[in-house]
């Protein structure tokens, strides 16, 4: 799901370490949160908009300058759909 490639040693090491962390985190169950609303953000702003006006963005060259693989001014990616034979 997170698109990470792990070796079998890594899997073993991280599962042990993350189990310890999750065991620790389980103490949250002791906190009484009945009738408590979640706080997803601490700022008091909501629905901030700006004027719908076009602004200068990156040029195509600038947007592409860090791409490892490109072609004809476009990002080049691995094939996503395979052709049926």
């Amino acid at each position: 799901m997170a698109n990470l490639l792990l070796t079998s040693e890594e899997e073993e090491k991280y599962s042990q370490q993350l189990s310890n962390v999750l065991d620790y985190i389980d103490q949250l169950n002791k906190a009484d949160t009945s009738n408590i609303e979640p706080t997803f953000q601490v700022g008091n702003l909501s629905n901030v908009t700006r004027e719908d006006k076009a602004e200068q963005g990156l040029s195509q060259d600038e947007a592409l300058q860090n791409a490892p693989s490109k072609e004809n001014g476009l990002f080049r990616v691995k094939a996503i759909f395979e052709e049926r034979g």
């Binding site: 799901m1 997170a2 698109n3 990470l4 490639l5 792990l6 890594e10 991280y14 370490q17 993350l18 310890n20 962390v21 999750l22 620790y24 985190i25 103490q27 949250l28 169950n29 906190a31 949160t33 408590i36 609303e37 979640p38 706080t39 997803f40 953000q41 601490v42 700022g43 702003l45 901030v48 700006r50 990156l58 600038e62 947007a63 300058q65 860090n66 791409a67 490892p68 693989s69 990002f75 990616v77």
Partner: protein, 470 residues
Amino acid sequence: MNLNKLTIAAARKGLKEKKFSSLELTKDCLNRIKEVDNQVKAYLTVCEEQALEAAKKADELLKNKEESPLLGIPFSMKDVYSTYGIRTTAGSKVLDNYIPPYNATVYQKLIDAGAVILGKTNCDAWGHGSSTENSDFGPTKNPWNLDYVPGGSAGGSAAALAADMAIFEIGEDTGGSIRQPASFCSVVGLKVTYGRVSRYGAIAYASSFDTMGPMGKNVSDVAEVLSVIAGQDLKDATSSPLQVDNYLGFLNKDIKGLKVGLPKQFYGNGLDSEIKAAIDGAVMVLQKNGAEIIDVSIPNTEYGIATYYIIAPSETSSNLARYDGIRFGNGRETFGQEAKRRIMLGTYALSTGYYDEYYLKAQKVRSLIKNDFEKSFEKCDVILSPVSPVPPFKLGENVNDPLKMYLMDAYTVLINLAGVPSLALPCGFTKSGLPIGMQIIGPQFSEGKILNVGFQYEQVTQWHKEKPKL
């Protein structure tokens, strides 16, 4: 001439009185980097060419009597800020060769003010850590003792400042990343109110916690830089429209009658005895200068770390999903260990079936913690707290125990959960000569007030003047 040792205020005075030029000041900083950074390893990138050019330009403007608080003053930044044409890595090999095509707002404001960029400093990759040992480019060393960590994640910034390799620094604080290294290296660092400074162009760790803030050699330097970088930015919808104060203007009130709250939960088991003693000393200093000390309570203190280590990894797993190796950067196989751990933890906490149990639960506990602080601030003006429960530790000592490392963030993550500002400043040393820091916490948008309390403390103490011997 060792001009690199100067504070902003002293450097400004010298520039104005033509005792030296920005070019000389900048060269002294660059020479210092060449002299000691092979030991300290604070910098990931030194941009000598840009620095010299910016310094020459500043000298021209100074000749024309231009007035700007940071004109010609050399600084460096934690390597999470996008800097046009200057490599920006976030401490990760994923961005090893990344050259940003635009500027972060904080950086833009600083160069507009004429400040001179020296380079980019080391940090735990993506801000994930408290020691810089999670940097994919190797750790920074603590200038006070090279066998010890400088703290993290902005350990490079704190170490560079402590070793006089810059006049001021810009860090970034998500769960303590400015305050803890400031305290480990004996410099001043400010975590601002969430939304006080624009996050635009800063590489995101956990977006609902990330705050951009200054680090300096004393409190007034930090106040001066904050006045330049704070303010609303239409490119960051969470930046506050509240007016920016001239923070230097706050540094003139005595603290007679100031109510300083000590949360009883902060001073129990787990706090190192030498740190406790240093804080007791600071309490006495504040009392002697007229402050009133009162007991307050943050009843949900014990849940701080668990809450933070659900929400922050959740947000980071989402933020780091953009690194696909297609548009920029290397592929996902390049992530280091800690990034992988946090991506997995966050992905798990957000996944169907666990969302309510972990993520939503943590966001509710966050409300409780925020509430605890709001209630305390009905009784007191500021809260005094340790920054770290332990003094700086040895390199390698805790690398194989992530949970132990997380537990060291006990006093810092609470502040990010509540979204309030906090000023970390030096308040002593251990018997073995390692720095100890404290933090002064205030209600949202009370930066002026906490800076003044720190400033008044600094006027009657000498800790901030101590320098490491390298």
